[in-house]
């Protein structure tokens, strides 16, 4: 099959040149991979022509098919699996970034032309009880794919706690605003208050109050309670008071919790509660494990979310801020090589979020999954759920 080999080689030669150029541009942060374009100046880059993009995609697909068909696949399999899960993260990040770019545009263009469901009655806020003691969290290494930061599975010591049966809603958050929440330093962590002051923060990201002089967004003809509207991937919409609040920073989540007399759960509390709740469900009949929102979280039906004994909307509505700084689990060992830069080197200054959001690919959601962001960030679809001591 010399001919095939030749054509492969010739393809590879052209592709190598392409890959060398894009390798420099596409290296986001891997120090081990070599020099890269400064991240802050990425926005200055002109886009390649569509034909180049398609050619590059074809190159990647061909090369992957060759690799998987060949002998090397066995060795590469773990890396390919990691790559697929990494790509799922990109799917979500792309939507987050598109939302951010469109949301910064005063014309508020819509990404998807879908009529939103109207507000539904929100489930009453209730708290489920969980017993303390020794519990196990983290992923068992049973061959199912997990990221290294979810391991090793280990024991944690908890005291009795209570966890809210659903996330805090827009309507509840609006009460915090109306009560002067953003102008009372007593509710805020010191760094949070400094962030509020320095950035003149008065509301969640993407909330906008009707103002006469400003150009109107695509969906802006109506507005929600108090004249509030919210930018979504389906355009600007009246604020839905029953949907989970989202695009808030850790500082905002923590301030709300303090204002309301509660606290945020630790990630261990969240995971223990999630596992206990899943154990009581029948995945065959329980269709509501994942969020029902399309592009944007919506209020779950009262029957499934937020009964006084069952947790609702744990997965797939909004990423939920926890009170846990992102640290290594006891005994954690990062992988060797560039892959080892994937998680471990970010274990400082960030907080853990759990559960997944309306933009997360369904296969990417699990109870042990640890997402993480800086406490001031809010372009990710993050909300929160209250907790208190048992």
């Amino acid at each position: 099959m010399a001919r095939a080999k030749e054509s492969d080689a010739s393809l590879t030669r052209d592709e190598a040149a392409l890959a060398a150029r894009f390798g420099y541009l596409f290296n986001s942060y891997y120090e081990a991979v070599g020099p890269r374009h400064a991240r802050a100046r990425r926005g200055d880059l002109s886009r390649p022509p569509v034909a180049d993009i398609v050619a590059y995609r074809h190159h990647v697909d061909s090369a992957m098919r060759r690799l998987m068909a060949g002998n090397g696949c066995g060795r590469a399999a773990p890396l390919i699996e990691l790559g697929l899960h990494h790509e799922q993260q990109h799917q979500e990040l792309l939507l987050m970034d598109i939302k951010h770019v469109f949301g910064s545009n005063p014309l508020a263009p819509a990404y998807a032309d879908v009529a939103p469901a109207g507000p539904a009655p929100a489930a009453r806020l209730a708290f489920a009880d969980f017993a303390g003691g020794l519990h196990e969290i983290g992923a068992a290494e049973d061959g199912t794919f997990v990221f290294d930061n979810e391991t090793p599975r280990h024991a944690v010591l908890l005291t009795d706690f209570r966890l809210a049966t659903r996330p805090v809603t827009n309507g509840e958050y609006l009460e915090f605003i109306r009560d002067g929440g953003y102008s009372q330093p007593a509710h805020w962590l010191a760094d949070g208050w400094a962030w509020v002051q320095a950035n003149d923060i008065t509301q969640p990201l993407y909330w906008r109050r009707e103002e006469p002089g400003q150009p109107a967004g695509v969906w802006s003809s109506q507005s929600g309670p108090g004249g509030w509207r919210e930018f979504t991937l389906t355009g600007e919409r009246p604020l839905d008071p029953t949907a989970p609040v989202c695009h808030v920073s850790y500082y905002e989540a923590d301030a709300y919790a303090r204002w309301s007399g509660h606290r945020l759960p630790s990630e261990a509390e969240w995971e223990v509660a999630a596992i206990a709740d899943l154990a009581e469900r029948d995945p065959e009949t329980d269709a509501n494990l994942l969020g029902s929102g399309l592009w944007h979280p919506v209020a779950a039906a009262p029957s499934t979310a937020g009964s006084s004994s069952r947790l609702g909307q744990m997965f797939g509505d909004v990423w939920e801020w926890t009170a846990s700084p992102y640290s290594a689990y006891p005994g954690y060992r990062p992988s060797a090589g560039a892959v080892g830069e994937y998680n471990g080197k970010f274990m400082i200054n960030q907080m853990v979020l759990r559960g997944g959001c309306a933009l997360t690919p369904p296969g990417h959601v699990r109870a042990s999954y640890r997402n993480f962001f800086y406490p001031h960030q809010r372009w990710q679809m993050a909300g929160f759920r209250l907790a208190c001591d048992g």
Copy 2:
């Protein structure tokens, strides 16, 4: 013709909505026009779909045709003429900006696929003599269009001076670099030296020295003297030592002049010399009044540029920095209304450039034209010409 009128009106209604949105986005700096999108955040804006752009263009063309066909045109004529000249400035700025965006891209993509002319022999540097005394500069108000900052025509008092017969070349500028020009504070204005230090400036913008690890630009297979290459709108090319140096700041032009024992001309000297030179030419037979470069300045033929008695490359190769701060001419009066913001409010902190460059529309070049930039800026195609006392 009720029907036509109706269709006009209906067109106008749709267009009005379009225009309201774009009016907010497209107001670059006119305080009198109202609120506008923050300039520094323009790069974050997503682009409108191509169909919207074409529709908007159609709207503008139609509306202008209606206006010019109607009775209002007489009144609007001065504004339309100003708009056409303003649009010529945009033509040049678009090319400057495209060059900047492409030049920031490590892949150095080419805007135009034109094979560059090879280096030509450069004319010998010589100086032409001009007599001092009372001269007149500025535009006579004879009905020909000029910008308000070129008026009023007025007398200036000069002493004898000499002006170089061509701009400084890349090859000459390279000598300044090789002599340690960028590391000798004595050559520099204090603000210039601070700019060099703060921005780590060691060469003109778009110059690049061959480096092994970096991805290669489109035209980078060869390089010029000392391994230097220059990014142009036709891609990265070997540095041509005979072409005028360009994309230098005022600070660099001034430092070079001091290093070489000369100075930069005042704008009055430049204009007086340009007028005297033009008077001796026959526009019918002299085809070389404008620069011969396409997208990029090139060395003019020795026969036309840089003889010891005649000035060469005064127009259309590189904008030439003068030693004159951009100020109002004696008796200057800005126009009323938003048009009055066009020039006068920029008369601080900037320096005057004269002559036009290889990107300037030919009809936009004249002896009295005053361009202006901040002394640290260099994304415009700016070079310089030496002068000294007579």
Copy 3:
């Protein structure tokens, strides 16, 4: 005693005016106390005349004596005790700040004129073993003063671990530098590497390598290994390779630990080990519980510090970075009012340090004490001790 009361009142009137002015200036960060001078602009303030300072001190002393002699003291006692401990923190901070100001001065002036002890032989690095399981940490509320962040006492779950018998020394840290530690991103947390790059960090704060052109510090006639000198409150001195390394950031401590194949201990591990070690000592005969350094940490004698079974230099040499983010203990409740701003609102983005340093007042050192700084800070006297899994 009407007369005494009168004089009190008259004193109070003058003092009230004084206090009103200084109250504005001296409010460092208490939102509940009211407006205050911007922290970043404090350095611009002119100092009050010495006579005003003495008068103000006299005012504070008199007012406190009156308060403590009167009936109100019982109520105020907890606040006075808190104030005394807060003042002890200021004693240390003053020395840290003086060191920073003097250390930023190229003349390196000495604060105290004390001849340093010469280098002593450093104890061999060894690791002591500690068993995991359930342990208790935090301060018992038995009436002894503690800060609220040390409470409540609570159980923690640990796995077996080993803790170094002494902190890392300057000599050991020098090996990290010589091995290219500051230029290998693989050793660093992502934020740490960004900090290294942005600030051009190549050594601990206050280390300086002999350079010919620079003005010499007071003690600079000699230098330590590799030409290294270290600025101390007793002037610039040759680097002592046996003393604990200090004035390093968390990022540096963490990078060294990774480079050496170890990790930093958690604060629970540190406290459990400290308590176990204290239990085996006889405070009557063991004079070496506190650091032996005056103004600066020095190597402890090998006999007391760093035997293979006993921990040395746990208290009073250098604050030791732990791997624990500064968070609330389970069940933590901040005090009410302005005092509640003292600790809780800083529980984000900072890391815990344990043990005390050569500048800490002896009465301020205890096993449950939690100090905290941002991971990039290093003007505090911070070093670190290695740990690993058991």
Copy 4:
């Protein structure tokens, strides 16, 4: 006299060490003198003990006496004279800096304890006429000391102009504020408007409006029109509506002039007018050539300042912004060596001020003197005088 020489040498040895240290610290911006402490970090330096300062002063005095008594004086004389004039500039700068430091202190301490003169009736605003044509400005090189930037004397061409007989007063400037001057972009240069917006400028530096919550300054019991007070070196005082406005930027001066329908004079106009006016005075009998203010400009008596035919307050009240960018006079040659850095290298981005202020040493004031500051600066005591075309 070997002994004297020895003692000189021994003195010199100690002094040399002292001088080497201070030389590094005291080099403000002379690149030719060598490395120096970063200017922005000067405020961090601890002050030397008073004894060291006195010793250093003694050293400088002794060394200067030796130099002037010796043979070298002849050669050094021009440098000594330059040094004395430079020192006079420092005298003024010290007062400006003290004012700035004290004025940034919310307690507004007074530098000098002098009761201010009450407001006097201000002279009516009038304009004196001057004929255009060829005039001479600049300093004649007749042996009297001048700075190099005042030379060479040269001809300038002017058109007829009118110059106000006194500077704009606080009361007049207040009208500009009341008329919304700081919120109307049409009055402002583009850079000036950006400066106003970015720094939230609403009044001259040191103006303060009575506010209840703020600590009161030393002289603050009363206030001027509209509740305005002004910080001066003699403490905070009611704004005097008849005194010249001062501590305004060029942008503010230019905006006021535009608002009032006038313009600022060019420096040539100012100097020509000043010389003409001086020629008509008898210095023996005219005691009012210099400003009458002590530490602060005050309104001149109507009889001497501001009659319709005579110019008042040209010297020694407030530095007067002119419309002239600071550039080299035709034929200007800077001195060689470090002294050449004194003036020439600042000839960019700054504007010329003329006349001197209430803090300027009287011997430092002359008609040809060219002061210069950036257009946004206002910590210098700068006001302005209106002009218009004749």
